[in-house]
């Protein structure tokens, strides 16, 4: 009886602690949302109101009604989407080579890929700034797409490689014996079989590109080319007091990722942890 009681106490404590943790950890998120539906005068009140006294969507309509801000959403979607597509395409090719062939320099290539993931990205900013001005690509989304590959491509290669390694080589070889070319065999066997890895790597790549900030600050100047993270930051400088607009912007910037996460949690976690697990 005693041990059963003890177990019940431990069980209850576990639930209570988890609920407490959820409340604390979600508080900043709840606060972001709650500020986004207040009029701005209410935000600055001291002591703060825990629950909005006046519910208003004026901050949201301000963002959604402004072509300047809508443009920022399109820019971000375009950059993140194109980076993801390129990373998966080039990454799967390289991953295939690393998983299927034994060749001279294989170890060096692997080491190179792991090492460049450890680079301090701020180091690259100075030469990039210079090169893109020379190439006339400063303040363009193309520049962002190119430099985002520096951190998304190595990740995609390593993650897809570790997945390909778990798929037996025999399946492709059988397809090749049956008259497929190598490329045909890859498209008919390997790629259909490794879709979870493509979804995982793709989602995480998209998340990284969507959330990136440093390169956007260094390489983008005009409002027409800005991406979400930078646009939100610029609100701090431009309208220092409009906290409700900024929080509404933050909610809108985070919602797509949170929604995707709700539906594809398994793959997304797989992608997020793969960075450490593959290596």
């Amino acid at each position: 009886m005693g041990s059963q009681n003890k177990r019940r106490i431990i069980n209850t404590t576990t639930y209570l602690l988890l609920i407490l943790a959820i409340i604390i950890m979600c508080f900043p998120l709840a606060w972001m949302f709650s500020v986004s539906v207040r009029p701005n005068v209410e935000v600055m009140k001291m002591p703060p109101d825990w629950i909005p006294q006046i519910f208003t969507l004026e901050a949201y309509s301000k963002i959604l009604g402004s072509p300047k801000y809508i443009r920022v959403f399109f820019n971000t979607v375009a950059v993140a989407g194109i980076v993801t597509a390129f990373s998966l395409f080039l990454g799967s090719m390289a991953a295939y080579a690393l998983a299927r062939f034994n060749f001279k320099g294989q170890r060096t290539v692997l080491m190179f890929l792991i090492t460049i993931q450890m680079f301090p990205l701020v180091l690259l900013c100075i030469p990039y700034f210079r090169i893109f001005i020379l190439l006339n690509l400063y303040d363009s989304l193309v520049a962002l797409i190119i430099v985002y590959l520096t951190f998304t491509l190595p990740f995609c290669i390593l993650m897809l490689r570790s997945y390909f390694l778990n798929i037996p080589k025999d399946i492709e070889e059988a397809a090749m014996v049956d008259g497929c070319s190598r490329i045909g065999a890859i498209f008919r066997t390997l790629i259909p079989m490794s879709w979870p890895a493509f979804i995982g790597a793709g989602l995480y790549t998209f998340l990284l590109a969507w959330n990136e900030f440093l390169f956007a600050v260094v390489l983008i100047e005009s409002w027409g080319k800005r991406v979400l993270t930078m646009a939100i930051y610029s609100l701090l400088a431009e309208f220092i007091t409009e906290w409700n607009t900024m929080m509404a912007f933050s909610v809108l910037a985070s919602l797509p990722l949170i929604f995707t996460f709700v539906f594809l949690q398994k793959y997304m976690v797989q992608g997020m942890t793969a960075g450490a697990l593959t290596s």
Partner: protein
């Protein structure tokens, strides 16, 4: 080796070139195939990584505002190394990193243990899902939320008032005071990135063989003893990996400090990444900033070497 031999043997024959080519193709067929798949990625990454690194290294010996360059030898480095300011920034970076990593580990391990307990599995997956959300946010967004919460009129001071603290404590500008700025940024960083530890450690916990716990229970081990003698040793490898990775990520982090304090007030929360940015892009001292970046690269490289070695061992 054998390639050289075949070249020598075929040299006198008239049709030597196609023969060598054939031989080359057969000997290096794997290499040819492999590199035909690899070259686009390798080309892009080399251009994007190796060239800029060399360029920064070169620039660190010059005084440069990007239009005019003067060779100054090692004076950027000596200026940095004898600048107490630089060491202060370095110390901030180390404190920020150590604080973040330790708290990530404590929080992540605690939550992973709770989630791994014998609880309702639907509640478990819902709780896990909710607790991961901070990690999905951009550091910029997370930083902004905390700037708002920690403002003098913010909800954090509101809490303190509600808890009955006196009013001189409840008007603190947490990010505007040099004694609390770095700590506040660290707190935000802990909140945003603990889910990585939680997820990794939960996966680690789930792969610990249950028999170990059952056997130790028969031997009369307490929960605490089980934690020290079974759980921790089983998690050691995961912990080492994520601590190394997180140290590298935090040491080079730019967004949290830049967004929340801009390094201020009076450089009290400046870290290497933001200092390099300001020295380069605001003070236009690109040579100096490059030297700073190279020193940061070297410091990171030492930690990275451990990680790369571990990763390479696991890969083979």
């Amino acid at each position: 080796m054998s390639f050289n031999n075949s070249k020598n043997r075929s040299a006198p024959i008239g049709r030597s070139i196609p023969f060598v080519t054939l031989k080359f193709r057969r000997l290096y067929s794997e290499e040819i195939l492999a590199y035909s798949f690899l070259w686009p990625s390798l080309l892009i990454l080399t251009m994007l990584m190796v060239y800029p690194l060399l360029e920064v290294f070169r620039l660190s010996f010059y005084e440069s505002n990007l239009t005019r360059e003067t060779w100054v030898g090692l004076s950027n480095y000596s200026a940095l190394l004898f600048d107490p300011f630089f060491w202060n920034i370095f110390l901030n970076t180390v404190l920020f990193t150590i604080g973040s990593v330790i708290l990530h580990l404590v929080l992540g391990l605690g939550l992973a243990l709770l989630l791994n307990a014998k609880i309702n599995h639907i509640f478990r997956s819902v709780a896990r899902g909710i607790l991961i959300v901070p990690w999905l946010l951009a550091p910029t967004v997370a930083g902004m939320i905390w700037v708002l919460m920690l403002a003098p009129f913010g909800v954090f001071n509101g809490f303190l008032t509600a808890l009955g603290f006196t009013s001189d404590l409840t008007n603190i500008a947490w990010l505007g005071d040099s004694s609390t700025a770095l700590g506040s940024v660290t707190a935000m960083n802990v909140w945003r990135a603990y889910p990585f530890f939680m997820v990794m450690l939960l996966a680690g916990l789930q792969s610990v063989p249950q028999q170990l716990y059952e056997a130790s229970q028969i031997d009369g081990a307490t929960i605490f003893q089980q934690f020290i003698y079974i759980t921790l040793p089983e998690l050691k490898s995961v912990i080492t990996t994520i601590v190394l990775l997180d140290s590298i990520w935090t040491f080079r982090a730019f967004d949290p400090v830049f967004v929340m304090t801009g390094g201020g007030p009076s450089y009290s929360s400046e870290v290497l990444a933001t200092a390099i940015y300001y020295d380069g892009f605001q003070k236009m001292k690109f040579g100096y900033a490059s030297a700073e970046a190279i020193l940061m690269f070297i410091s990171l490289f030492i930690v990275s070497a451990f990680y790369v070695r571990r990763a390479m061992n696991n890969n083979n």
